[in-house]
């Protein structure tokens, strides 16, 4: 038995470092014998010969800070996040529009051996956290606060841009169709938590007023939006499969993504098929395996719905049709999906 473990950190995301400052950490008992030389080559492959000294210096300082006061800073971060959560859990008006996702919302019961639903108890405080963290297959990091906003009738992306950013200058990165993510970090202060709460209360009051001042038809529209955001969510599709042309073994699922990727470089191997006019569906009905020739990544949620060489499934199609986001990398609405021609899949050359 050899322990061979690698971890990559965006130091800049959660500790002190300039943007892009990152680290690779290694615990590999075979590193010296087997990896050091290829690692060095790989490092040279991807690293500029003019690396930025300021980034390196900031990584050095960030490490020192973490060793001197990382405990204190992370502790304060968690403290701030927990107190924000507590107030969000208990404020009556906020609860009406903003529901904080707790452990059980994000981790199904089968993965919670401890049975802990939430780390927080109004009487005993946060005493359940250790138990869950020590035992469960998955836990939620409480310093990241996902709030379901479906009840506002506003989708995540619009909420992020038009409400939080434009109105109140609050910046967040991640949204889903009906959630927004508030991340705390080691720079988060009690003051910034208070400001966020203040803004959320203002927004909740706004939504309250909007409802009160709405006419019957306007209310219908709001109700319709809320329903669409809370009940009519397109199910997330599983990975379908690689097309046989890119597979090595019928019993195991792996595919040669590189071969598929480079096969698309020759224009004659690919064509566009639209699904909004039914052309793609018709091809599938005729029994054709429609195979993606590119990555298709909608934002949000930001994961590839299709990768090169992957067969388009009914579920994926349904998901793509139901998406109401504007940003889909690898997809051009006026042309359709980039797929391989049937001829290209007969005997694709090795990539």
């Amino acid at each position: 038995m050899r322990i061979r473990t690698y971890a990559t950190h965006s130091t800049h995301k959660t500790l002190t470092s300039l943007r892009q400052g990152s680290m690779i950490h290694v615990w590999d008992q075979d590193f010296r014998q087997k990896v050091e030389a290829p690692f060095h080559e790989a490092y040279m492959t991807h690293t500029s010969t003019s690396p930025n000294y300021q980034i390196i210096a900031s990584l050095d300082v960030g490490r020192m800070q973490a060793e001197m006061e990382g405990f204190e800073l992370v502790h304060a971060q968690v403290e701030a996040a927990l107190s924000l959560r507590e107030q969000l859990y208990t404020h009556p008006l906020l609860q009406k529009y903003f529901r904080v996702l707790i452990n059980k919302d994000m981790v199904p019961l089968e993965y919670r051996q401890s049975g802990v639903d939430t780390f927080y108890d109004p009487v005993t405080g946060w005493n359940k956290m250790e138990e869950a963290w020590a035992n469960d297959e998955f836990v939620v990091d409480p310093s990241r606060i996902t709030i379901a906003i479906g009840a506002t009738g506003i989708d995540g992306d619009t909420f992020k841009n038009e409400y939080l950013m434009n109105k109140y200058g609050i910046q967040i990165n991640k949204t889903s169709r009906n959630t927004v993510l508030f991340m705390t970090n080691i720079g988060t202060t009690r003051g910034s938590i208070a400001y966020l709460l203040d803004v959320l209360i203002k927004l909740a009051k706004e939504f309250e007023a909007r409802w009160e001042e709405s006419s019957r038809p306007e209310r219908k529209i709001i109700e319709h939006r809320v329903r669409s955001l809370t009940e009519e969510l397109p199910p997330l599709p599983d990975f379908s499969r690689f097309h046989d042309a890119f597979r090595q073994c019928p019993d195991t699922p792996q595919g040669d993504i590189r071969r598929a990727y480079f096969l698309s470089y020759d224009e004659e191997n690919t064509e566009y098929l639209r699904f909004d006019n039914g052309a793609l569906q018709a091809a599938m009905r005729d029994g054709r395996d429609v195979v993606s020739a590119s990555f298709v990544i909608p934002y949000p949620p930001g994961f590839p719905v299709l990768v090169p060489g992957q067969v388009v499934s009914e579920e994926i199609l349904a998901f793509l049709q139901a998406l109401d986001v504007t940003e889909i990398h690898g997809y051009r609405p006026e042309l359709g999906l980039l797929v391989f021609t049937e001829e290209a899949l007969v005997d694709p050359a090795a990539g």
Partner: protein, 563 residues
């Protein structure tokens, strides 16, 4: 597979102490408010009596918290109580006000705050500090001043002895020291653990023999953490064993703390035990000079920033620039008619530190031999790795480096499909044969969780059945997803290794670098889990070897003296 047992993953007492610093600040403020009201009440009135009771409760609670902090000291607290007992409330209010000001402005980090004297000058200084802090919007931590920390002493000292020791360390202070520190004393095993949890100022710990196990406080909240340790057993342990156990528990909570052992006991007996968490062992209790310098040196070893220091040194040297990079030393902008606002905005230092040189005290990231090498070694220490490497182009690049270093074309990689896009491109570049794993979906919120262990094992077993397991090279997962779902890293590795003992793991912890600095989060980081497993297998292998040897030994004729 066995479930984790409490001794392996000790509970930490976050639930209890997670809000201690807010509790501390809030209680002091409330005390100040109560006192402010009390001095305006008529003595003996019902309202006054209620306030006195409330003040008593708050002082009692604060005394427990402050027992684990150097400021206010135990002597300060005795002073507060004596004012309270003598009903000198207006003086008490004044002293508490000063104390709160000193805590908020953190002036105690820079100078001695003597609460017993009502010195106008000292008060002025604290007021000034408080004002400065208001102006700057954050605690006054002056970067050029001597950084401050606290030394924890674990020893069963009387109040008098404690003052003597504290004085002795104070007397060691010299203006030229790089750091200044104060002393916190605790008298028991339990108290030592609480102190390192609730007092982040503690950076060094001096463990001396002869301390009992139990705290004088009833710390039910600590029970979680101590689960698995039998009190009886601890009481029966020798003092040396107890000190060593304490040091390993402190290490588990706060591995960065520098620990020292003071013993007057049997040198050899101590040295032969598991003392790896001690930075050094002192044999003479009262050798303060030696202890003082050793402590300062240990702190300096963490505080040093080899590359940042080298870069600052470099930027001070006058150099003629005859290589590329006109912006170096600001040359292309200082005399520009148009681009001068870049200097106005950034200041000159960043340009003085910009260079393409790798000499002059600097180093090469691609072939480090000097300060970058050192800086990376320190990073490995901080993050619990065997080796660490800096990457100046994000984790996107870090991921591709690791994959390319380990994966050959046609090697099979198991990878979660909703991982960051750098991995998908990394797979393309490496020519890996990709086996995508599905995370459990959260349809109601249009997001994914993470990949269940049974899904991973099912896939591995499918490869085993197909006779393809030898082609599987790596398992690649996102530990701590964007949304905050965290794996049980150790369990995943343990159970996968049972199927495939040479599997390589790459954990994308882009969002989890901070987790290494909190005792609840740390066990779920890749580096901590790897170390834990490594130690476990090593001791198991040792146990098996020993058992085999013992079995053989036992078979020998017990009557034969030659064995």
């Amino acid at each position: 597979m066995q479930e984790s047992s409490p001794t392996e993953t000790p509970y930490t007492a976050l639930g209890f102490y997670h809000k201690i610093s807010q509790l501390r600040a809030d209680t002091w403020n409330a005390l100040k408010r109560d006192l402010g009201q009390l001095v305006r009440q008529e003595a003996g009135s019902p309202r006054a009596r209620t306030l006195v009771k409330a003040i008593d409760v708050k002082l009692t609670r604060l005394e427990i918290i402050e027992d684990y902090h150097a400021f206010p000291s135990k002597e300060d607290f005795r002073h507060l109580w004596s004012l309270f007992d003598r009903e000198e409330y207006s003086l008490l209010e004044k002293v508490v006000k000063r104390l709160v000001r000193a805590l908020i402005s953190e002036s105690y980090r820079r100078r001695h705050v003597d609460l017993s004297e009502t010195d106008g000058d000292a008060e002025d200084l604290e007021t000034l500090d408080a004002l400065n802090q208001l102006r700057r919007g954050h605690p006054a931590s002056n970067s050029s001043a001597q950084p401050y920390f606290e030394l924890l002493i674990v020893d069963n000292l009387s109040a008098q002895e404690e003052e003597v020791v504290r004085e002795a360390f104070h007397n060691m202070r010299r203006p030229e020291d790089r750091f200044v520190y104060d002393v916190v004393t605790v008298r028991s095993f339990e108290d030592a653990l609480i102190a390192v949890l609730v007092n982040p100022n503690i950076q060094a710990c001096l463990i001396r023999y002869e301390f009992p196990y139990k705290s004088k406080y009833n710390l039910s909240a600590l029970r979680n953490y101590l689960e698995g340790l039998s009190e009886q057993e601890l009481e029966n342990q020798s003092e040396a064993e107890r000190s060593i156990l304490l040091s390993s528990m402190i290490h588990e909570l706060r591995p960065e703390i520098d620990q020292f052992l003071v013993t007057s006991g049997d040198v050899e007996a101590t040295a032969s035990r598991d003392i790896r968490h001690f930075n050094r062992i002192f044999y003479r209790e009262t050798d303060y000079i030696e202890q003082h310098h050793t402590i300062l040196r240990a702190i300096d070893n963490r505080y040093r920033t080899p590359f940042f220091d080298a870069l600052r040194e470099y930027s001070k040297k006058p150099t003629g620039v005859f290589h590329a990079m006109p912006i170096s030393r600001g040359k292309s902008v200082t005399r520009s008619h148009w681009a001068g606002h870049m200097i106005d905005f950034y200041g000159i230092n960043i340009f003085l530190a910009e260079t393409s040189a790798t000499s002059g005290g600097l180093d090469s990231l691609l072939q480090p031999y000097g300060p970058i090498k050192k800086a990376q070694e320190y990073a490995a220490r901080a993050f619990g790795a065997r080796q660490s490497f800096f990457v100046t182009n994000g984790t996107s690049t870090a991921n591709k480096i690791v994959v390319q270093a380990l994966v050959k074309p046609r090697d099979i990689v198991l990878i979660d499909r909703d991982c960051h896009k750098s991995h998908h491109y990394g797979m393309v570049l490496a020519g890996a044969h990709v086996s995508y794993l599905d995370s459990y979906p959260l349809h109601d919120y249009s997001m994914y969780g993470a990949v269940p262990l049974h899904e991973i094992k099912k896939t591995l077993l499918a490869y085993k059945r197909a006779g393809e397991l030898d082609k599987v090279k790596m398992l690649l997962l996102t530990n701590c997803t964007f949304d905050g779902v965290v794996y049980n890293v150790r369990r995943v590795m343990e159970e996968c290794l049972a199927i495939k003992p040479d599997l390589v793991f790459l954990w994308d912890e882009a969002w989890f670098a901070f987790a290494g600095f909190n005792p609840t989060y740390r066990p779920r980081t890749a580096m901590h889990a790897a170390r834990t497993l490594c130690e476990r297998y090593r001791s198991e292998a040792y146990r098996e070897e020993y058992a085999a040897w013992k079995a053989e030994f036992d078979q020998l004729d017990p009557d034969d003296d030659a064995t």
